[in-house]
Amino acid sequence: METKNVMIVGVGGQGSLLASKLLGRLLLDAGYDVKVSEVHGMSQRGGSVVTYVRYGDKVFSPVIDEGEADFIVSFELLEAARWLPYLKKDGQIVTNIQQIDPMPVITGAMEYPEDLVEKMKATGAKVDALDCLKLAEEAGSAKAVNIVLMGRLSHYFDLPEEAWQKAIETIVPAKFLEMNKKAFELGKNA
């Protein structure tokens, strides 16, 4: 199988590490060669963060380059637009519609661009946008945004539901398991 590329993007502190951990586990258990790459060091400081997940028969490069991503999973709308050039021509974006103002917007030096979902669609990208924060809160915790997004991503993956459930059980602490399973379902059925 040709190598598939999933990018997970967001803002430092949003919980993308758990999402990449879950995907890594899922794909390893499914028998693929897997590489997961992240840049550490700035993750707590509100910067733009990106994680690369690659899987297939044999994966070489740990990074995904422009025009190579089959999926971009975004925790924040502006970040989806920032990383859009990395999407393949027929690639799929799964994005949270939450907006977090970056410093140039906070200081008033720049505006947060409007209608980004429509503008991304206009480039030809397939965009699946959903209010993950609302769904996560419905599941019981605003922190479950990552699992809501994974639930939504599972739509596009050719892997059985049980595989996802098993990966969640392995990754998530027992006391948060029910809440996260609910978040996964809400994302999946959104």
Binding site: L28, V36, G41, S61, L78, L87, K89, I106, M110
Partner: protein, 596 residues
Amino acid sequence: MKELMLGNKAFARGLYEAGCSFVSSYPGTPSTEVTEEAAKYDEIYCEWAPNEKVAMEAAFGASLAGRRAFCGMKHVGLNVAADPLYTMSYTGVNGGVVICVADDAGMHSSQNEQDSRHHAIASKVPMLEPSDSAEALRFAKLAFDLSEEYDTPVIMKMCTRVAHSQSIVELSDRIVPERKAYEKNIPKYVMMPGNAIRRHPFVEERTEKLRAWSETSDINRIEWASSGDKSPVGRRVGIITSSTSYQYVKEAFGNAVSVLKLGMVNPLPEKLIREFAEKTDVLVVVEELDPIIENHCKALGLSVHGKDLLPICGEFSQNLLRDFLGGLIWGHDADRDPSLKVADQIPMRPPVMCAGCPHRGLFYTLSKNKCTVLGDIGCYTLGAVAPLSSIDMTLCMGASVSAIHGYNIAGEGENEKKTVAVIGDSTFMHSGMTGLANIAYNQSNSTVIILDNSITGMTGHQQNPTTGYNIKGDPAGKIDLEALCRSMGFERVRVVDPYDLKACDVAIKEELAIEAPSVIISRRPCALLKYVKHNPPIKVNKDKCVGCKSCMKIGCPAISMKDGKAQIDTTLCVGCGVCEQLCPMGAFESCQNKEA
């Protein structure tokens, strides 16, 4: 058992399996997790040392005592530890010594982009270079064997992409070699001229023995092209590469090219490279940063491409190789679809000082007083970013304290009235103390501010000699900064709370005015530390706010303007109250004040 493992964690696993029993390191991105992960094995003694030189010397001591020892650092850390390294090359080891150095091509988290292979060559120490987690684990074990067999420290060079990417590893059990007896050996271990003169030829012979080993070792391997030996344009292209560059080569060109993949980058093989070159029509060296393998090939008299085609600055990637080498390999440029883009300019999202960061109040005060600020390495380097724009200089660990002395003396009385040095608690312990000793000794009227946030912040919360805890989080010795500075002869040592803007202002004005060297300790723990209790978020009284933007001068990510009024992001605000002190209208209300 198969596991998906971070490169640095796999390195730590290799240390464990190799029976390493002593680890001393100083944190530095992207090397930190090797030591943090090693510390999770109870069988390995692990510690954070005050700096890399101390760490390497401690590891050398453990080696003398007959144990396998390790120290880890980032590329610039090896500059600090270069002194013991260059002579440990002469003494050799008793128990094996492995050194991790992690380079940062692309400067994700560093102040320069130096290529550590130069240190391996200059110190004549062998260097291995893994290209994924499985190799990190395997090479770590091999490095100990080489160290003991050839009587040398061995460097393992990581890079950001190998250190911080996860790939699949297979685990084995830990095997601890018997502790070697220490035997007194003055000619080997006492490096005074008479002995060192005799050790130098040993080092040169060792390099040639290691080179002979590298000619046949399977860590240097050839992968021949599969498509009938020839590239699409009828040339046999051979690529010599190592580390993460190997992965990019395979990703970009697959089996269309032959590859000599080097796992050992010092010393470099000669016969193997010649043999490879003979069976290719075009030879290309693909290496990030400096042309070290390329120059080695040229010294062998080979015709080779390298930095004539590829950049010397920054990281590589598969697209970069397709763009720069596509013509040579395919006979045409890489054909890629144009990238998808929205028309809007996307605002940057740089890292910022966190909401509630104790450094913010201090830097605001320094900006307000128009101070010249000689800075150092740590989170507080972000004090250089707008709107604080406070820092004038950042060079290397400890340089703030050393440089202010020279700056003030050369300023002939002008500079000292408005200049401060700022340095974090961990960086001060690393190499700020010696600069402070110079001020105390040679008596410049310098004002040094120690930003004591009670942790090593930037690298992700490591303990240090001032925090009172060790790497495992257990109670440890705690150095008293005030007593330390006083014992050096500083009569003026004072502590301020950086959340208290008035107190900061008074302290800075007084210490700059006085004709004596002084230390201000700006003390408050990092707002991200788990034990730090946060106040409820600040509230904005919209009736009082006139939209003057005084609160925007501190660059707090929790404050923004909406419809001409300040607003607080309550998910970020920790109620530090710095903005409250800035507001001329009293529009910010902390819950505590309300209760009072």
